[in-house]
Amino acid sequence: MLITGICGRLGKQLARVLHRDRRVVGVDRRSFPDKPKDISHAQVDIRRKKLKDVFRAGDIGAVVHLGVMHDPRASAADHHSWNVAGFTKLLEYVSQFRVPKLVVLSSSNVYGPQPSNPQFMTEDAPLLGGQNFSDIRDLVEVDILAQSFFWKLPETETVILRPVHILGSVHNAPSNFLRLNPVLTVMGFDPMAQVVHQSDIVRAIERALLPGMRGIFNIAGPEPVPLSRYIKILGRQRLSLPYSLARVIMKRMWTLRLTTFPVPELDHIRYVCMVDDRRAREVLGFAPAVSLEETVLSVDEGRW
């Protein structure tokens, strides 16, 4: 089993769960200092030819692609070459070496927060995430590339997971956002939002690895509640600003490199971007195990 992006916090967690009953090979640019002994790690860039050696070395039964770069500070060109070109390479090897399973961790952000969104979007909702937030177009493209793989290589079971905001010790935008104190909100808006705990994502990937599973699945955690409720659970203070003011301040802070949140992220705290996870519950047999409170409070666990 091959995991890309194994050195991220989610990758490490997944590796620790999976290595108990199968052989795990990790691929990541970064090093994996405290890795369990039976995991072999190849410190390669997925865009390089060396990736092919990893495939050549042993027969790979499944590829889990977590190695998506989403660093808002990196350039669009970097994003594109890493996420799109790198992923294309990976797909090429998957088809060349006839890997029977491919799991891609996408995100429900590909749907994008919009005022006209239905409250719960199904897997066939259009992917409009890049409409107002062009920096994530490459992530939408990864999702679409993976979708095209269904037709290109039907003998490979491809699974695309689109989880809602993942919370936990991970360093992603939603977790970082809830770590702010005070938490920023937009005056006059308090959208319903869904979150899911990182360990539930690991569980969802485990389900996706079962033979016979294929398709696109929205993954959601506990019941949705308004944004203000999340802040209340954390006991944080709240700073609510009118949208126009918040936008100006964030733009300035962004150019001064004072924040990691680009301005379009503000739409996530204005509009709904929630998913219908019925398919995951029925077909994938996935149900979140971590409660709402535990999920939300987990953002403080990984602080350093």
Binding site: N117, P182, V186, F189, M192, P224, P226, R238, S240, L258
Partner: protein, 312 residues
């Protein structure tokens, strides 16, 4: 993680929270105002709001909010306003509400009166006069959702964005959904067209067939006379990108900005069930829609005949 100067932000937040609710006086004022609201509601409902609420079938999660963001605690003030209009101002007479079946329903009504008070009256009747009481859900224009406060307020009192997926999901959740198939054409009728149904949209019928939901026809009598529109200036409406530009003379009279205190009469009809393919041709759907439209029109005609006076 960002290196935002935390002291600066925290100071701002403290200011923010101080402005929000620190002065004890304000808290006391709000406290007594809330008690006044509770008392007024209890008088109008004949029981406490909480007691009435406990009988409303709602899909609330553990957090006290439904999946669409409805928070019953928020609705208290809106309910008070609607209930006052319902009982005191328009003195609504409700007929046949016992025919409304439990479970999911589609309330289909005529639209009238320039301002959607008819919707509020139907909702008030469903909460105050129906047993078990129901919270009526309705659909919002998409642009309203992008407005601050407006979107928050309407979401909390149970309105949802007007997209087909939401309607289907609400009905699957067992809610009572109110639709006005006439849309803006209906509400903005000039006085000469009063109680003449405008063209019906077809969406509600497809929705009812798809989700196997009974349609409850509702006739609202009394709405057309609340604001009398004598003309529609089409050119101006086009210019201002409004669906209509009504001329309402009473608005120029002091006090005439309030709707005229007509007596509202709500007639609930027998539930109608339709089966068939929801994706059928328009012509097939139109026949079924025509049936609903005729039912409402004849209910309206009967209601008008039985009405002795507009104001009482």
């Amino acid at each position: 993680m960002a290196s935002v100067p935390p002291y600066a932000l925290r100071a701002l937040a403290r200011l923010d929270s101080a402005a929000r609710g620190a002065p004890a006086l304000l808290g006391w004022l709000f406290g007594s105002a809330e008690k006044a609201v509770d008392d007024a509601l209890e008088k109008l409902l004949g029981e406490t709001f909480e007691k009435r609420l406990s009988r409303v079938p709602l899909a609330l999660g553990r957090s006290g909010v439904d999946p669409f963001g409805l928070d019953p605690q928020w609705t208290k003030y809106v309910v008070l306003m609607a209930a006052t209009l319902h009982r005191k101002y328009f003195r609504t007479q409700v007929h046949g509400i016992e025919k409304v079946p439990p479970g999911r329903i589609l309330l289909v009504a005529n639209h009238s009166g320039q301002v959607p008070i008819d919707g509020a009256m139907i909702a008030a009747a469903m909460l105050m006069d129906a047993e078990p009481p129901r919270f009526v859900r309705a659909m919002l224009e998409k642009w309203a959702v992008s407005l601050p406060f407006v979107s928050l307020f309407f979401t909390r009192v149970g309105q949802v964005v007007g997209v087909p997926e939401n309607a289907t999901r609400l009905l699957e959740q067992g809610e009572a959904l109110l639709v006005f198939p006439e849309g803006a054409r209906g509400i903005a009728k000039t006085f000469d067209n009063r109680y003449k149904l405008a063209e019906f949209g077809l969406g509600f019928m497809r929705l009812a067939m798809e989700t196997d939901t009974p349609i409850v026809p509702v006739a609202v009598v009394g709405g057309e006379e609340q604001y009398i529109s004598v003309a529609n200036v089409e050119g101006l409406a086009r210019l201002l990108r409004m669906p209509v530009f009504p001329i309402i003379p009473q608005l120029f009279v002091p006090g005439g900005q309030l709707p005229l205190p007509t007596k509202y009469r709500l007639w609930f009809g027998e539930p109608m069930r339709f089966s068939g393919d929801p994706d059928d041709d328009d012509s097939v759907i139109e026949d079924k829609v025509w049936l609903v439209k005729q039912t409402i029109q004849s209910m309206l005609n009967r209601g008008l005949k039985e009405r002795k006076h507009i104001f009482w």
